[in-house]
């Protein structure tokens, strides 16, 4: 089982490699990827340096070109594919069917991974991308139970990658326009969810308020841990109940499921967090490397130190099994 780790910049890429990532995934410095944040991601020089660093140590580099191009900007997405193919990346992560076809024809030797933003939740959908474009690996949206992942893995020749740790999209990836609804930018079209320029924090007599494009997402009393204001992590009122209508701030952590993932044929686990620090990447990668090595050696049992280390990096200090847990649904 491969460990796939995030890098928002060269220091994070080195941290991932040094701490045992098999693959590092990253994005270019524009809206062709779903973490289009200021100051984040790779220009040509950084990508070349990152590739050299990873390849010298026998690791692989994946580039996410996983937003949806439109007629007016199509050429920029194909140029991104051409550029990273020429640099010798090991695979690209793509969501858009048209762009997958372009890549499969223009660069037949370039491996294609289906992005989680492609919203393929069934083997029928994944096999579509395999038959048409030769997709080798698919990242599953965070909606399936273990038994459902197993069914998918059994019915497709495509390698299956699941999320192991990090920020949890409560909504199906690639099918969420909540951020666009509130502030005009969403992952599909702009590569951003709740972009920082639309976020405002304000101390008020009734507490700390977080707003997205002026819309009140939440208000925190003294002592409450504040969460980054994505629409799905806010508190809203339904009738007389004011509560986390979608999800409490928490991170996904499926470390305990490593033996199950192995049993059902999951080929890779992915750590979320290209927007996080090199220290986050280093520590989370190290924990998962140790855990996967223990599993390979046949001696896996979750260690308290792993759980504690991961909890320190979890949103709101809490972790959840998400859709892998039936009660969560």
């Amino acid at each position: 089982m491969d460990l796939v780790c995030p890098a928002g910049g060269l220091p994070a890429l080195k941290a991932a490699v040094d701490n045992g990532a098999d693959w590092v995934y990253l994005g270019l410095r524009d809206d062709t990827n779903a973490r289009n944040f200021p100051g984040l991601n790779f220009d040509g020089d950084a990508l070349a340096a990152g590739l050299a660093y990873a390849h010298a140590r026998g690791r692989k580099v994946l580039v996410a070109i996983n937003t949806y191009p439109q007629a007016a900007n199509w050429a920029r997405w194909t140029a991104a594919v051409d550029r990273v193919a020429a640099l010798g990346v090991d695979a690209i992560i793509v969501a858009d069917a048209g762009l997958l076809r372009y890549a499969s024809r223009a660069h037949p030797r370039l491996a294609l991974h289906l992005s989680v933003q492609g919203s393929a939740t069934s083997y029928e959908a994944i096999n579509f991308f395999h038959e048409r474009f030769g997709v080798q690996r698919a990242v599953l949206p965070r909606v399936l139970s273990l038994a459902q992942v197993e069914l998918v893995a059994r019915r497709t020749p495509v390698e299956i990658e699941v999320f192991g740790f990090g920020g949890l999209c409560v909504m199906v990836e690639g099918r969420c326009a909540l951020s666009a609804y509130a502030c005009g930018e969403s992952p599909n079209t702009a590569g951003a969810c709740s972009p920082a320029h639309a976020v405002r924090w304000r101390e008020t007599p009734s507490g700390l308020e977080s707003r997205l494009n002026g819309i009140l997402i939440d208000r925190y009393a003294a002592g409450e841990r504040a969460a980054y204001p994505t629409v799905c992590k806010g508190r809203y009122a339904a009738g007389n109940d004011t509560y986390y209508a979608f999800e409490e701030p928490a991170s996904l952590n499926t470390l305990d499921f490593i033996p199950d993932f192995g049993r059902i044929g999951v080929r890779a686990v992915k750590i979320e967090g290209r927007q996080r620090s090199p220290a986050y990447v280093a520590q989370v990668t190290r924990v998962w490397r140790e855990a996967l090595d223990a599993w390979k050696a046949g001696s896996f049992s979750p260690r308290p130190a792993w759980t504690a280390a991961l909890a320190r990096h979890a949103e709101g200090g809490q972790t959840t099994l998400g859709a892998f847990s039936r009660p969560w649904k």
Binding site: Y68, A72, F128, V170, A177
Partner: protein
């Protein structure tokens, strides 16, 4: 501009559904999409019922399309998709690539709004697979629609979401059940009590969203009544209207009159404001936040 009635997104009692579509049979609408697209647990209206409703609408002169479920998780979900695909009577709307794969090679299916067709290259793929109509994603801008349609395959139709609470997201989790501290598997079908979705207000009392089982909608209502000339210019052939529990037939009448030029866009918007369960927004079309009126 033709009018199409989108699939019913909410869970209504069977009698209410039958009454609704009996009215729709007499309403000014050209195409009616039928079927459960949100949650496979819902059972008030069975697949056979949808086919029977479809026959009655077809007899009344409507074009009928069966819509496939948007989020498929289990083998049971796939069975429902396969059943819609295999129906030999009506066209089918695919709402994920699994359904598109199953429909590939048949002619005349509809590439639904949840397929994520954002550019001409992807439109060409669904056209090669036999689709003859594209329903734009709800966040589509005028520029995007015009761009995708500039060089569309001959005879290919474009349908734009033009009226109704905006379908914004799907999840594995049921948010209506969550409100009542129930699990999805034991939800008690709480969504049947919210015929237009369960309103979610911000903590300062502003209507924001509406939860509809695993789906999240806007609280306000998308309305492109004032954009008819721009829609035509961009290449739209069909305006999609989403069913709501009250006034749907009236909404269709207003939009038909506006399309035929019998009602000014100003008057149409004014009438629709009075018929809607929320404020009217049109930001997406203008490349703005969806919750804005441009």
């Amino acid at each position: 501009m033709k009018l199409a009635l989108a699939p019913l997104l909410y869970y209504w009692p069977r009698a209410a559904v039958l009454r609704f579509y009996a009215e729709i049979a007499r309403a000014p609408v050209d195409t009616v999409y039928l079927g459960e697209v949100v949650c496979s647990r819902r059972h008030e209206v069975a697949f056979e019922d949808w086919l029977a409703i479809g026959e009655r609408l077809a007899a009344a002169g409507k074009e009928v399309v069966l819509s496939a479920q948007a989020l498929t998780e289990s083998e049971g979900d796939l069975k429902l998709v396969r059943r819609a695909v295999a129906n030999a009577r009506f066209r089918v709307e695919a709402n994920d690539w699994g359904a598109a794969r199953l429909l590939s090679g048949t002619t005349g299916w509809v590439a639904g709004p949840h397929l994520n067709v954002y550019n001409p290259q992807t439109l060409a793929i669904v056209a090669e697979m036999g689709a003859t109509r594209w329903v734009a994603p709800v966040e589509a801008t005028r520029e995007m629609v015009a761009g995708i349609l500039a060089d569309r395959p001959a005879g290919f139709e474009a349908e734009i979401f033009g009226y109704g609470r905006m379908p914004l997201a799907f999840s594995a989790r049921c948010f209506t059940a969550r409100r009542f501290n129930r699990q999805k598997e034991d939800c008690g079908f709480a969504c049947i009590d919210f015929p237009d979705g369960m309103g979610l207000d911000t903590r300062e009392g502003k209507p924001f969203l509406a939860a509809n089982g695993i789906q999240t909608l806007s609280a306000g209502v998308y309305c492109l009544a004032e954009e008819l000339p721009a829609l035509r210019e961009a290449g739209a052939d069909i305006l999609r209207i989403s069913p709501q529990s009250a006034n749907t037939v009236e909404v269709l009448r207003v939009l038909r009159a506006a399309c035929e030029g019998a009602l000014s866009s100003f008057d149409a918007r004014k009438s629709l404001a009075a018929l809607s369960p929320g404020k009217l927004w049109n930001g997406f079309w203008h490349g703005r936040p969806g919750m804005e009126a441009a």
